[in-house]
Amino acid sequence: MSTKFGLLAEYENPAQLYAACERVRDAGYTKWDACSPFAVHGLDRAMGLKPSTLPWWVLGIGVAGSIFMFFFQIWSMVYAYPFVLAGKPLFSIPAYVPCWYEATVLSACLTAFFGNWALSGLPRYHHPAFSSKSFARVTDDKFFIMIERRDPQFDQAAAEALLKDTGASSVEELED
């Protein structure tokens, strides 16, 4: 037995999508999403989305990586195997700077990269929207809104009427 996932509405351009998102947001839905071939400028505000938490992860792990590398250099150069080379002092902050800096950048960028996918729940094998034929153009030139059935105030008829009223060119039901 197949269960229903929710409703999928298709729009022709970013202007329609933007206006529709404002309507859906104001109608009080929470479990819904908009999909577009590119990042539509300002859509996060039209949808009432909170800013991403990614920068905090990057800051935290970047600082941790930075501190680790600084002390790792001190430990390995001064304590673990002290060895004078080229007459440089064992403890020399200027000489530590390049590796210190690169390790900071590397830890921050790895966090930004992996955090980006992790916070979005990607990679993901399947999503109900992919069962829709028209959704294949989400990465080309069509724009979509989906309202999920598990939204507390989901009502099939009301949601369908709202989406149709916002100028959707088609509204269809998604299988889970």
Partner: protein, 486 residues
């Protein structure tokens, strides 16, 4: 068309193979549309994916020929590496004072080329230069492949290649650590970080475009291949928010990387005590040179590609002109650095320093020095003229000259400073032996990877170019409204 390019006086022809090469007047107000013609989102998708989606067996024979040629170069590279493993660096003409020669020349040459890609993808992004969207994917790919070539040179130059893991801080039975106070170790960190960050940045940008190719795929292998690479991307606005933040963060970290990587490479020279190397001007001079050479390589790759792939509406002459302006600027900076080196050598009153520079221009390697000056300083000066900047042939030839000149710059720095040692009894002239094959091999590796990229990956950042079309603005009201944009 008039409404997207408000003050265009020239009527553009309809032929997309010609239209992109016509330079428009600088408008008095407003700006020239970045994508020519009244293009919609679907056109961008089609134009970019067309090349990737041709069936494998129907790949144009000219492309197959190019790929085979590049593959031959790649085999040459592999064969040379095998020979080098067997014989050791005795294959090279390196001698006692000239212990760094083509191995390091090639390394600095290739790692420098990468810098233009990062400048386009990161610094121009942070400065909101929207024209970058048309060329960034291409330039980033160039960065990745150039750094692979650079890394192969530097990995192979150590001689006992199987001990290269000593370069990394890996806990080992001797309880030894690499010397973090050495410029050569800084280089290991800088180049590896640079490669990793460039790769992550490139892949992040590619994911939405892989999703486009996945959704359009008609054959099983393409569905699986692009499906795996697309990570299940569905263009969700909730994902775009994090995605754009990640992109900004990666750009913000890559921007100082552009400046730091070649600075660190220059420390390999500048931190030594050798006259001609031990100068404070090296970091900025190397960075300017890297961007200069990198943009020349972008031009050399993009000019044939935009014609061959029919992308002239997306990569217009406007892009070419912008990059030529950067070539002119950085070329002049490099010229200034050459002059300043001579001035400082004279002004310092240090006779060793003075000798090194006189010797560069008029010693046994005078020819290398003057090839460098004429290619790097003189040839880009034609770009003061708009006619030259907006001509594809002039752009291509100057870019090729600049690439040659930048290779010779590294040759001049490495070899001429070394071949006149402090001890006249060890003075020797360096003559390469088999190194030409090494350089040719790295070009084969580079072009082979690049042609595979062109065949299988989207060469234009589809999802980014769509955002610079006027109708991508959510407040756009249609072509009938001239001032529909911001």
């Amino acid at each position: 068309m008039a409404n997207t390019a408000p003050s265009t006086s020239i009527a553009l022809p309809d032929d997309p193979n010609v239209r992109g090469d016509i330079a428009l007047e600088d408008p008095v107000e407003g700006r020239e549309a970045l994508v020519r013609g009244d293009r919609d989102f679907h056109y961008i998708t089609e134009a970019v994916c067309r090349g990737n989606e041709a069936p494998l067996l129907k790949t144009p024979s000219s492309f197959v020929f190019g790929l085979l040629l590049a593959f031959a170069g790649f085999l040459l590279f592999g064969g040379y590496v095998g020979w080098l493993f067997w014989e050791g660096p005795g294959l090279w003409g390196n001698n006692n004072p000239v212990s760094w020669a083509w191995d390091i020349v090639n390394f600095v040459f290739w790692v420098g080329i990468g810098h233009a890609g990062t400048l386009i993808s990161a610094i121009l992004y942070l400065f909101r230069q929207k024209w970058r969207m048309g060329v960034n994917r291409y330039a980033e790919a160039m960065t990745i492949f150039a750094v692979i070539c650079a890394a192969s040179c530097v990995v192979l130059h150590t001689g006992r290649i199987w001990l290269d893991y000593f370069l990394f801080p890996i806990p080992n039975q001797m309880q030894l650590w690499p010397n973090f106070r050495s410029p050569l170790e800084w280089d290991v960190f800088a180049v590896n970080t640079y490669f990793t960050v460039s790769l992550l940045f490139w892949f992040t940008g590619l994911v939405p475009d892989f999703a486009t190719l996945r959704d359009r795929a008609t054959v099983k292998w393409r569905q699986l291949f692009y499906g795996a690479l697309a990570l299940g991307w569905r263009g969700s606005a909730r994902h775009w928010v994090t995605y754009e933040k990640a992109y900004q963060i990666l750009a913000a970290f890559s921007a100082p990387l552009v400046l730091s990587v070649h600075s660190v490479v220059s420390f390999d020279f500048a931190v030594s005590q050798l006259p001609g190397w031990h100068t404070t001007i090296f970091p900025p001079y190397f960075v300017a040179g890297a961007i200069f050479g990198g943009f020349a390589m972008v031009q050399n790759l993009i000019l044939p590609a935009r014609a061959w792939l029919g992308l002239k509406d997306i990569i217009t002459i406007h892009h070419i002109e912008n990059m030529n302006k950067i070539i002119l600027l950085t070329g002049s900076l490099v010229g200034y650095a050459y002059g300043m080196e001579f001035f400082v050598a004279a002004y310092s009153g240090n006779e060793y320093e003075g000798f090194t520079f006189i010797n560069r221009g008029f010693g046994p390697y005078w020819w290398a020095y003057w090839i460098m000056i004429s290619c790097n300083v003189l040839s880009p000066q034609v770009f003061w003229f708009r006619k030259a900047r907006t001509n594809v042939w002039v752009s291509f030839i100057v870019a090729a000259l600049v690439n040659t000149g930048m290779w010779f710059e590294r040759f001049v720095i490495c070899v001429t400073s070394l071949h006149r040692d402090a001890l006249p009894s060890s003075w020797e002239y360096f003559v390469p032996r088999t190194e030409v094959l090494f350089l040719a091999g790295t070009f084969g590796l580079f072009l082979f990877l690049f042609l595979l990229f062109v065949r299988f990956f989207p060469v234009i950042a589809i999802s980014e170019v769509k955002t610079i079309l006027p109708q991508a603005n959510p407040h756009w009201e249609g072509y009938g409204h001239a001032k529909g944009g911001h």
